[in-house]
Symmetry: none
Subunit: 265 residues, 2 copies
DNA sequence: AAGGATATGATTGTTTTTGCTTGTTGTGTC
DNA sequence: GACACAACAAGCAAAAACAATCATATCCTT
């Protein structure tokens, strides 16, 4: 049987029953378990189903049918992401730091958006100002999602609060994750002044600040300083980072996590 | 059986009966008690239930309620909207009341969701607690969208704020639109107590309250009273409304707008 | 038809899950 | 307080699920 056929049948089955085991599929589709697993992995990456241990699970009853490209979602991802594979690894590492049940904040951005994939089968309480992330996570996962109030900026897919007092201040998180256009001795940078205020507000509500920045971002400058290095607790970057820089960050009391860039295919 | 499947069944069972013993689960789910205990521990860490001696317990009344598909949300898109055509006309009439540039509030629900279509080529400032509406409007239209902060309730597609002070209070709108399961001399009804608080908060920020209710909703009762009739400014319903009722509403100083039900195909 | 890319199934070793056993803790009864 | 019994946590070993690898088969291109 062709791969396409198998995939279609697999999804049809899932349409009916919410869960399927690899074993069942293997007999029903007359393929080895290895193949079924590969199918599931592939379909999962396409966002057509959720891969779970032992088999697969439907995403949401109606969502796959209704699925349409959302807001800036595609533009968000597709175009400018050259270092996507590295960012993906960094995002994975970031999610690994979280325990189920934990309260976390995820600041909008392309790096943090990639955490979505790895959050799919987790159960966290997530506060995010990223509308796209909230949207996707609510479709695909069982995480509890909280949104700050504010205006929806379509282009960035971000919710910006213009006000002092808002929902954010009632939220308390153990960790806040954010990407950055640049991080160095001068601190953590931000390119869009609009975002700074919101980000600083979010930051206040979290115990730990975790920055996701691939090695090209290290020691890079940008327009605005968001916060000094002293506020950063953990930096996740890749193995191509200049060791001298890594040592510098560590001397600043930042825990640096390196992901192996060679793992990226 | 797959672990995920067991977890889901377990939660489903708990949904029905508030409490389950490890023993019951062991037989019902056909797994050893050790496994059940591990499941409970895991789900408890995820905040999906409360682990107690002897079994598991639902967390809170509200949390349980949320699991049930209700009134509003994406569920309403799909199935049982028989009076969809009438609702559509009503929604159209509602949008006609607005001028470009105006600030309005749209409360989540199936009736108000239909306003989407007619808002597509308008330019309003919309505050809505409906995640789905926000999502669709931001895709399709150029309206400025504002969201209240709060938790995202996936099934209803609604953002619920648990807090007193939030973004909402800085918003001022000329009109608020809402649907209702029933309206009559007793006032405007609501079926879900969870929503009441948010709706009342929204209502405070608007000058006019405009209720969308097809004729089957008139004089119908529901569980909870959201507000007295005196707070309603405009009622949009259809031509099949009992004239006596219409006169009654008008005597209560409510402007009643009737859409011609025959226009509906 | 040759060659490369891709898909598949079998095999391996590793990780995770599961049920059982044991000893401990908690609950209720007398 | 002593006892009995249920509920439990921890450790362990078997089984299931898995990822990685390799060899073979299939498809596609030239």
């Amino acid at each position: 049987m062709l791969e396409k056929q198998r995939h279609k049948l697999l999804l049809d089955i899932l349409d009916e029953q919410q869960f399927v085991s690899v074993n069942d599929l293997s007999t029903q589709l007359n393929a080895s378990e290895a193949t079924i697993r590969r199918d599931i992995t592939k379909l999962s990456k396409q966002g057509q189903l959720r891969k779970i241990r032992g088999g697969a699970e439907v995403l949401k009853v109606q969502d796959r049918r209704v699925r349409r490209p959302h807001i800036s979602g595609s533009a968000f991802l597709a175009a400018k992401e050259q270092r996507a594979d590295v960012k993906r690894l960094i995002a994975q590492e970031a999610v690994k730091l979280c325990e189920d049940g934990e309260f976390i904040i995820i600041n909008g951005g392309s790096s943090t958006y990639m955490m979505k994939e790895f959050l799919a089968d987790r159960h966290l309480n997530v506060l995010t100002n990223s509308f796209v992330l909230a949207q996707d996570l609510s479709e695909v996962s069982d995480n509890q999602i909280t949104l700050p109030g504010g205006e929806l900026y379509r282009k960035q897919g971000i919710i910006l609060s213009a006000f002092e007092n808002d929902t954010i201040q009632y939220y308390h998180a153990s960790k806040m994750f954010m990407g950055t256009p640049g991080i160095g001795e001068f601190g953590v940078m931000e390119s869009d002044p609009l975002l700074i205020q919101t980000e600083q507000k979010l930051k206040k509500q979290a115990e730990q600040l975790i920055v996701l920045a691939d090695s090209t971002k290290l020691a890079k400058r940008s327009n605005f300083i968001l916060c000094p290095l002293s506020e950063v607790d953990i930096l996740i970057t890749d193995s191509e980072a200049d060791p001298k820089l890594v040592r510098f960050f560590e001397s600043e009391d930042i825990k640096v996590i390196l992901v192996d860039v060679n793992q990226a295919t």
